[in-house]
Amino acid sequence: MTSQLKLSITGGRVIDPFTSRDEIIDIHIAEGRIVGVHTPPPGFQPDRIIDARNLIVSPGFIDLSARLGEPGFAQKGTIHSETAAAAKGGVTFLCCPPDSRPVVDSPAVVKLICDRSQQTGFCQVNPIAALTQGLEGEQLSAMAALQEAGCVAVSNSWLPIKNNQILRRCMEYAATFGLRLFVNAQDASLAAGGCAHEGLVATRLGLPAIPESAETIAVITHLLLAEQTGVRLHFSQISAGKSAQLIAQAQRQGLAVSADVAIHQLLLSEQNIDHYNALSHCQPPLRSLRDQDELRQALADGTVQAVCSDHRPHEHAAKSEPFAETAPGISSLETLLPLTLKLVECGVLSLNTALQRLTQGPAQVLGLPCAGISVGATADLTVFSPTESWEINADTLISAGKNTPFLGETVAGKVKLTLLMGRVVYED
């Protein structure tokens, strides 16, 4: 690790959802922590002063779902390449889903991922543990051991649990240890063979479809069993407006349930798969404009607490097949900020709410003890220009995955500096 300099970030607009701060103020950093807000501690001599005038200083972004390729899929990305992309995207903490190879169902795999990400040092990585052994949906994973290894959440990713009896027991066991259950809600039989939202576009293109009910039925099942078992439930990457309504209803009734949505679900729709555009092939599928609108509302009103990148890097060949045979997913760590700012520009979210959904919202979902931008807090910070524009293309993306339907688009919002525990891990 590079040595930790004493830094002062001066003249920036500090927006911190953790402390509800929004003011132009200086921040002083030493030994990985914030040692002064506004006034430096007595005798503080910065090694470097970062001029943040006209820039925004935010807590580092927390991403609830980003796949790293490694372990198992190094042709798609490595922990090094993808955490570097995270740093470039302003993300200082990310969760990687358990569906790597090997699956994250043993402390050894957790350790492998954590060790390698610590060695590379770009971003803090917290693997989500497998809910069942091998993600096969039949036997409980060693949840207590996985928790001891550092995991805070368990999930079966997109793989089905064999039956509701097993699901119930998974929930009870996870609840025993206070582990959060992350759910990709999908009824396996209704989704079987599908690759696109069931609607006019899939009908016209003749693509096997996944109905909205594949998600909503699973949402209802999980809500009912969570109520019964007391597990802390979180829905990952919901795609249907109706799911948000069901979750809101449960929240009103007092159930501790949260949700996140992938950024592309808020900006794209089924229209984007027209002409068999495999770059827009996603899981869950991009749904209707109505769903998009309802998800935006749910994000704005707080039913959905977090926006995630749902980063899935792929090698070129994985997207170079007839549509249904291509791998789903978008490389999206580096576009998370500018795409979220699009929601601010079109009036869905205020800038402060948008940053809340990228920082404090996901931190709460994970139960992380973040203190935001305050004296004594870990200096995980993102400094960005909300207006500077850049073109998304294969050269500007450093992720190994260049698979994004936003290629060629010019977007506003550029990360200028990312600090992880007081170290500069990315600088524009």
């Binding site: 069931e198 609607g199 006019l200 899939a202 009908t203 016209r204 293109l205 003749g206 693509l207 096997p208 479809a209 109905p211 027209d274 002409h275 068999y276 060949a317 170079s320 097949e321 007839p322 549509f323 249904a324 045979e325």
Partner: protein
Amino acid sequence: MTADSQLQLNSKGQLRHFLSLNGLNRALLTEILDTTDSFVSVGEQAVKKVPLLRGKVVANLFFEASTRTRTTFELAAKRLSADVLNINISTSATSKGESLKDMLQNLEAMACDMFVVRHAQSGAAHFIAQQVCPDVAIINAGDGRHAHPTQAMLDMYTIRRHKGGFAGLVVAIVGDILHSRVARSEIQALTTLGVAEVRVVAPKTLLPTDIEGLGVSVFHSLKEGLRDADVVMTLRLQKERMHSALLPSEHEFYKRYGLSRDSLGFAKPDAVVMHPGPINRGVEIESEVADGVQSLILKQVNYGIAVRMAVLSMTMSGQMATRIKSS
């Protein structure tokens, strides 16, 4: 121009691929039908050949089994004097791990001028034209559930020849619309050519979501759907549909949706009956109707060769014009 027409047409608006009817206008579809007229007579001559594709190599790439479509494409290409390669691509090719892209690029390197492609995946022909071999003319001979544009055009030719045109016609398409690429292309062709009404008639399990959005009226009753129809198109019902809980039995389907002499009575007295084949007699159509005076089923097969000659020659000419321009 839509992205589909950009992909299929050259700068002069001529076909350079033939992937789907999406984005093709009425004038172009009419040109295909007019060109077909001139080729129908070729089939009636003692020497059934014209030299339009002499020196060109046409490869038939069938990733899915087909007898009739492949044979008519082969005959069409040979009547145009092309050299024809029939490449059997069994499913084992993919199990060898070779990607579709690699396989096609190898074939392209063998200097093929045109690929006639049938594939089980919707969008396969688009994918090849877009990402694999843009300089080879791609003819879609059926992709998944998406499109079978030459079949639709031969159906349109059959209708025009026997009904004199399209204006005012009521056309009913009956059967498994959900899995049918033929139905999707027919709907596109009929709406573009301006018939009065296109109807689809099927139980809900065999209709895709939001099919009304393609410009059709939906009927669940055969009697209602056939009332005053000028053209009745029935679709093949695959036997495996019984296994996926889409239908209880062939028998029940036949009783409700099978085209019999009785049910044909709901349509206009001069209604014509069409079927893309192969027929399941006694499942979607009664033998007496399939072989009856109102049936055009064998005519369809016959016109199929001429329609494919028209599409092959027009597409090759548009592709050559594009290549000359770009070189």
